[in-house]
Symmetry: C2
Subunit: 209 residues, 2 copies
């Protein structure tokens, strides 16, 4: 466990990529792979891969490479995917609905338990068997259900307020799609998906190749 | 112009954030701001801000700070936002429709010109006055229209094929939402939004705080 404390965000950010590539190998019935071959697929060097995976334990054997099923399963465990994570989506606009409809997240241990919105026209509409509820009932819902992840899909102007309700309700992980930097206590994690910033980066690079 | 070549991706990735905060200041009628104040807002140090902005030119004056309107306008120009960028969305599923409906991107010089899908049930449906067209007509559309940005929102398995059509059609900037690493020629830029990887990062951090 001591080791974990020194893992850099750069390594952590690469873990989901390992997870994705190993799952693909599994689907294609690949049993084992060398760090060199895995590196060629992902676009990392073999030594980078060995270094990354060494952060989490002793994987692979010299001359044999990695057992794909074993490595994939260990990375799933490291990522925390052996547990189920209950989530709520707040804001059932374009992005909120898209996230709610994205069944792929279910495979990633994300279990959607509730969707909330302030718009009376949306309240009561079902998305994948979940009725959109009144945002005013969010605090009550959080008090009565164990929710791990709050997905913030409301407009910028309401995002901090929603975030505060989620945090007050005991949520420790916030997946934020609003174009704003949320202020949270130290023990709450925020992962941002800032689509506008992503688009602006692309446009910048297009102009400055 | 010589300066630009040395700008790191880390600085480039921060530019959209400057853009966002400066626009907010403008909206709140703030005329000028010191690097210290700006830093406190964004969460960077004052020296980081001075260093970043110095990459692009001489902004700000000692003792006065930055003229917000001027700096915001210069950053817009640096980002390439003085030009209009025509875009197509390929894949009108959950994410594709969400992007198509997101009017905010229009303010970022992104002008949506076409939406394409393979699903006959979707073809002909209008999103914000744009009819979804048959994906088989994408190459023809690209031949007849000047398109700068291709947004890939198709399932993983079709993403590379769609990407190849976009590249063959002359597109140099791809905004990729499919959970796959696209292979493109050197002169084509890919900006990925890998939602699954973002969620996995959040779950990892929740388990390893």
């Amino acid at each position: 466990m001591e080791k974990k404390k020194n893992i850099s965000m750069a390594v952590i950010k690469r873990l989901p990529k390992y997870h994705r590539y190993l799952n693909e190998l599994l689907k294609n019935d690949v049993d084992r792979i060398s760090s060199k071959e895995l590196g060629e697929k992902i676009g990392f060097t073999a030594s980078q891969i060995r270094q990354d995976l060494n952060c989490f334990g002793d994987f692979g054997q010299q001359g044999y490479g990695y057992n794909v099923r074993e490595l994939s399963s260990k990375i799933s465990t490291i990522l925390g995917l052996d547990n189920v994570h209950n989530g709520v989506i707040v804001g059932a606009g374009n992005i909120g609905q898209a996230i709610a409809n994205y069944t792929r997240f279910g495979k990633m241990s994300f279990d959607l338990k509730g969707i909330f919105d302030a718009n009376p026209k949306l309240i009561g509409i079902k998305i994948r068997d979940i009725s959109i509820e009144d945002i005013d009932d969010l605090d009550k819902f959080l008090a009565n259900n164990k929710i791990d992840i709050g997905v913030v899909c409301v407009p910028r102007i309401n995002a901090q307020k929603v975030c505060d309700v989620l945090v007050a309700g005991g949520i420790k992980a916030i997946w934020n799609f609003a174009p704003v930097d949320l202020v949270v206590p130290d023990d709450v994690i925020v992962e941002n998906v800032h689509l506008s910033e992503s688009l602006l980066t692309l446009i910048y690079l297009l102009h400055n190749k």
